[in-house]
């Protein structure tokens, strides 16, 4: 992501190259409803859009500023609550704001809180910051139940998004209208958050993350840089919360709590903190897993936990990291050296996954399903979960998969080493 190459030549071509990703994103965002027509699918996509803004705003802290926060949902939730109150005030009569602009109310409200909490908590980074964010998160989440006139107690605050004034011809009765609004704000937020990384502040946030000791000697107060970055990140989290309010028309205390904060951390980390687009991937994947996977299997939490642990152990740079290590290889036209290795490793990996999956599903069926005695269905095959055959098959699959995976991974590693060497030579 380097914006500083001054390219001469065909301007149209270079513009397309430069903005291709954005144009593509816009086409995808606005084109998806042509493919996904069900209202459930659109709800899912709407949630994905909200999650993308939220995760990107979180990465402004973790990835760009080196601040690990356990309380980011505070701003998401506050933004949401402020927005729903604003919606109710507008419905009450006197305040003529079109619905399309209402998310900004959440954003700027969250910004104010972000300035205050940011100033309090960013004096120190690292574990101290993490723990302060955790503490503040707990405090705000607890007070949500104690201050029912703002947070609405357990039932939360609800409102009606069908306002009198709108800027567009949408009336926001149907999910599709709301989806377009979310897609619009998602793209706007994405562009702004990307541009922010290209400003002096964005670079200074990187500098503070990389080396807070050195930063004062280029003339900056570390605390102030962090506070501004933190506040701006809250702004976008607030916008995400505002869209949440419009999408669901209800805000409950769960939006502000630790689970939501943990969620956004996982999304961002699984997606990859090192690249701008990482959190987008994470938000898409995790939202899908949480909502659709839970309809397929009750063991989804276990799969999710395993995925997360696997990423932490073997892919600390997330999905984006996995993709981006291949960029130089592709550029050097060496992919053909890797592909056989991947193909070879994919087979035992699948076998291993299948074995683990069968084992997990059998166990869930036996211990947590409605009726353990009923036969199980997997891949259209009906079988008895207590039968030793099923157990035997899964264990054999696991053992075979594991043994061969180890071997193929070794080969894969060797071809990687080879490739790095070739590329090094090429570079020199």
């Amino acid at each position: 992501m380097n914006c500083d190459k001054y390219k001469n030549g065909n301007i149209a071509m270079s513009l397309l190259l430069k903005y291709g990703a954005w144009i593509g994103a816009a086409i995808i965002a606005f084109g998806l409803p042509a493919i996904v027509r069900s209202s459930y699918g659109l709800s899912l996509l709407s949630q994905v859009g909200i999650a993308i803004i939220f995760a990107l705003s979180y990465n402004m802290l973790l990835g760009q500023g080196g601040m690990l926060s356990f309380g980011h949902a505070v701003f998401y939730g506050l933004g949401g609550f402020l927005t729903i109150h604003v919606i109710n005030i507008i419905n009450g009569g006197s305040l003529p704001i079109p619905l399309e602009l209402v998310p900004l109310a959440g954003g700027f409200g969250a910004l104010l809180f972000g300035i205050v909490f940011g100033w309090i908590s960013t004096k120190r980074a690292g574990t101290t910051f993490a723990l302060i964010s955790l503490g503040i998160g707990e405090l705000i989440a607890s007070s949500a139940l104690m201050l029912p006139s703002f947070f609405g107690g357990e039932e939360g605050i609800s409102g009606d998004r069908m306002l009198e004034t709108t800027l567009t011809w949408f009336e926001f009765a149907q999910q599709i209208d709301v989806y377009y609004l979310i897609a619009f704000w998602m793209l706007v937020s994405m562009v702004f958050m990307y541009l922010l990384t290209q400003t002096p502040l964005g670079r200074l946030a990187n500098a503070v993350r990389d080396n807070p000791v050195r930063t004062p000697f280029i003339g900056y107060d570390v605390h102030r840089v962090r506070t501004i970055q933190y506040a701006l990140s809250s702004l976008f989290a607030g916008v995400a919360g505002g869209l949440f309010a419009i999408n669901y028309e209800i805000l409950t205390a769960e939006t502000i709590g630790a689970i939501e904060s943990g969620n956004v951390l996982m999304m961002t980390y699984i997606g990859g903190v090192g690249h701008f687009f990482g959190p987008i991937l994470g938000a898409v994947l995790v939202t899908f897993m949480q909502i659709s996977l839970s309809n397929i299997t009750h063991a989804w939490l276990l799969y999710f936990g395993l995925l997360f642990m696997g990423m932490v152990l073997w892919a600390p740079n997330g999905l984006a990291g996995i993709i981006m290590v291949h960029e130089p290889v592709w550029k050097a036209k060496l992919m053909k050296k890797l592909l056989p290795g991947y193909a070879l490793a994919a087979i035992p990996a699948l076998v291993l996954f299948l074995g683990v999956m069968i084992l997990i599903e059998i166990n869930y069926h036996l211990s947590l399903s409605i009726n353990p005695d009923a036969p199980m269905h997997m891949f259209g095959i009906e079988f008895d979960a207590r039968a030793p055959v099923a157990w035997g098959i899964s264990i054999v699959l696991i053992v075979v998969g594991f043994v061969f995976l180890r071997r193929t991974v070794k080969t894969l590693n060797r071809s990687w080493q080879e490739i790095t060497q070739i590329m090094k030579k090429g570079a020199d």
Partner: protein, 423 residues
């Protein structure tokens, strides 16, 4: 081809492969069950699903209704309002028009709001919501909705039953109120204070404490306060760990009080409380597992044992929601009366419907959609003593009836003003 292009192509393929539509509805009458099926509250959600499945088994065994079978379709909402709304959309997309849910007033409130809006915005395609356990009074009072039916007694009704029972207990002179510090706890407290004042003005309320929800690990300080107040009885709406820890902590300090609870028999609570509740823990419910023997209802006993055999996980998760049976039977009657599985017609059919349970007649009040049913106060008692035949959750302890409160005595006035669609 650039690396970027490759990534875009792959992403495109991924998106297209996702675009599969939902399965079309088969020829069954579907009831969407939206409750937590994973995470911390999954045990409660699982148990509810088993109750519904058991009832569906029975109804389908009789040949179903309107010539169709009933199908329970579970949706996992992880007890989150947000996820519930997404799952509601999911259910509607699958052509399901009957929804049921019970756990969490936050979820129930969100569903009522969402269903009201959905039905207003899509009048040709309405859905109907049966609430089997969310007890916030407002749902059938200020916030009442034509599309919502409640089959559980709400907070004020349960407190009315408890206070009715206490009215006859002249040995209780001092009462302590301890509740969770959120809307539900406040409702329990307020109702208890006003009804006690009305029914037993001589009783002194010696303490009134709110504590934070779920956060308290050690209840001994609260027990010390109760101890110091000299209370004879405690009324609490606490559920889950807040209830178990409270009662257990009371036993450890030798606190000699009666515990009047809403959820003493709630799933997992008897096992968690165990012997600490013997002879002290009381609950207010529409049903418990000793009723069939106490009132000599062998058919109900058979019903209970059938569930225990098939779905109770070796007795660890026993039959609990008597009202789910009532609800499903009334649902079947309403379907038959309406003659079609159409929400508006079913809703009108349910209004003012009466149904005879083994333990008396219940009425779905037409003007606010609140079920009026008799309630029982029962005490946790050792199996084999005082006619208690079955235990709960393999604890060796069961329930024994202390008193019955007739349906009409639990009925509360309601300020409900309902907007009805045209018939």
């Amino acid at each position: 081809m650039t690396f970027r292009k490759l990534c875009f192509i792959l992403a495109g393929i991924a998106i297209l492969s996702f675009a599969a539509g939902p399965a079309t509805a088969a020829d069954t009458i579907k009831l969407a069950y939206i409750d937590p099926l994973s995470g911390g509250f999954a045990n409660v959600g699982d148990a509810g699903q088993k109750h519904f499945q058991y009832m569906a088994d029975i109804i389908n065994g009789r040949g179903g209704v309107l010539g169709k079978k009933i199908e329970i379709v579970p949706f996992d909402n992880k007890i989150s309002a947000k996820e519930s709304l997404i799952q509601l959309k999911n259910a509607i997309d699958q052509g399901i028009v009957f929804i049921t849910q019970g756990n969490g007033s936050s979820v129930a409130g969100a569903l009522i709001e969402a269903i009201n809006k959905h039905n207003k915005r899509n009048p040709e395609n309405p859905v109907l919501y049966f609430n089997y356990a969310a007890v916030t009074p407002a749902f059938t009072e200020e916030k009442c909705s034509f599309w919502h039916f409640r089959f559980d007694a709400h907070v004020d009704m349960k407190i009315a039953a408890i206070t009715d029972y206490i009215k006859g207990r002249s040995d209780i002179k001092k009462i302590y109120l301890i509740n969770q510090d959120y809307v539900f706890g406040h409702a329990v407290r307020d109702a208890a204070i006003s009804m006690l004042k009305e029914k037993r003005p001589d009783i002194e309320i010696v303490g009134n404490t709110l504590h934070p929800l779920i956060k308290v690990k050690d209840f001994s300080p609260y027990i010390a306060k109760i101890q110091a107040s000299g209370a004879d009885a405690v009324i609490t709406g606490n559920w889950g760990a807040d209830q178990s820890l409270l009662v257990k902590s009371g036993k450890d300090s030798g606190l000699d009080v009666e515990w009047y609870t809403f959820y003493g028999g709630g799933l997992g609570s008897p096992a968690a409380i165990g012997a600490a509740g013997e002879g002290r823990l009381k609950q207010v419910t529409e049903w418990h597992n000793a009723l069939s023997t106490e009132e000599n209802q062998p058919a109900d006993e058979k019903f209970y044992l059938g569930y225990q055999e098939k779905y109770s996980d070796g007795g660890r998760a026993p039959y609990y929601y008597g009202r789910i049976r009532t609800m499903m039977e009334m649902f079947v009657l309403a379907l038959e009366k309406a003659g079609k599985a159409e929400p508006t017609a079913v809703a009108f059919a349910l209004e003012d419907m009466q149904y005879d349970t083994p333990y008396g007649t219940v009425t779905m009040r037409g003007f606010d959609h609140q079920l009026i049913q008799p309630l029982y106060i029962s005490t946790m008692t050792k199996v084999g003593t005082q006619g208690v035949k079955y235990d709960v959750e393999n604890t060796g302890l069961g329930w024994k009836t202390d008193g019955r409160v007739e349906a009409e005595d639990t009925a509360m006035p309601s300020p409900c003003v309902m907007k009805r669609p045209k018939k």
